[in-house]
């Protein structure tokens, strides 16, 4: 279980909604597995978290959610970043022409052994309108196959990121 609720032993504190927390709880959040937090108007909230590959949800009183929000926003962002990073690495197995080697662009997906990121390819296609024009820009280091592979990687990444 990632979320533990403990009796609050500190001085009564006020939440952003103006109600004291002293009789309620202190909340501990495991930074590695919190996935999402949804606060509902009716005074309830649901925290979702990962355990292994499965995702669980737990309803919590609104007052806990208020405390969790303060602690877990950076956690959720870091978790999402980690998830995206893992996805980008996993997709490199399906697209061997793409690499996430940390030395180049800090690990942003790029063409193997070239300082050209997948985003650069898309940007140049946006600007020039054709694969042939992009190939000409980086000629002779870039082939049409590499450009197509970058586009395929971008497509797979988008589809996987949205569906997961």
């Amino acid at each position: 279980m990632s979320v533990q609720l403990k009796p609050h032993r500190m001085q009564p504190a006020k939440t952003s909604l103006g109600k004291p927390t002293h009789d309620l709880a202190e909340v501990y959040v495991d930074p590695e597995i919190v996935a999402d937090l949804r606060v509902f108007d009716q005074g309830k909230a649901t925290v979702s978290y990962y355990k292994g590959s499965a995702q669980y949800s737990q309803d919590i009183p609104w007052i806990y959610a208020d405390v969790i929000t303060a602690f877990s926003q950076p956690v959720i962002q870091a978790d999402a970043k980690e998830h995206i990073r893992a996805l980008s690495i996993r997709l490199c197995e399906e697209h061997p022409a793409i690499s996430t080697y940390e030395g180049i662009f800090g690990g942003i997906p790029h063409l193997n052994g070239l300082r050209i990121s997948v985003a650069d390819i898309l940007e140049q296609i946006y600007l020039t309108g054709s694969i042939a024009a992009v190939q000409k820009i980086y000629s002779p280091d870039l082939s049409e196959d590499q450009i197509k592979e970058a586009i395929a990687y971008a497509q797979d990444f988008l589809e996987s990121a949205v569906s997961s």
Partner: protein, 140 residues
Amino acid sequence: MPKTFLSRLFPHNLKLMVDYNLNPAAIDGLNEIGSVKAKRTTDYGFSQGAADKDLVYNKKRCVLLTGDFRSIDEQKYPPCQHEGIIILREQRASPEKIVACIKAFSQSGYRKETSHNVIYLWEKKAIIHKHFGEREEVTL
């Protein structure tokens, strides 16, 4: 910044090393500005797949011009430890736009501020990160 007698006598040229992923068509335009000497990373002997830190800490006394604002920043490469970095923040910049950004900056009087600093550059403004965490936002 006003021009002085000395600055007219000894103009400070901006020696740029243009990152490999930026459109090389911009390099001719950059060299036509007058106060800018620009070459691609490969022209300085770096490979097409050179690492970020090799380019930033280059021994060629060049300022790195890059569009890579996601992995190169003032936190990772603090001012004072390298020759200088200019990070283009204009998204989907054409060669003409790259030249326009550098031209606006080099003619703004802040060209000398490039040395050892990290500069985020737009067409109409720049944010200069200097030593000791000092930060200056300028309109071009």
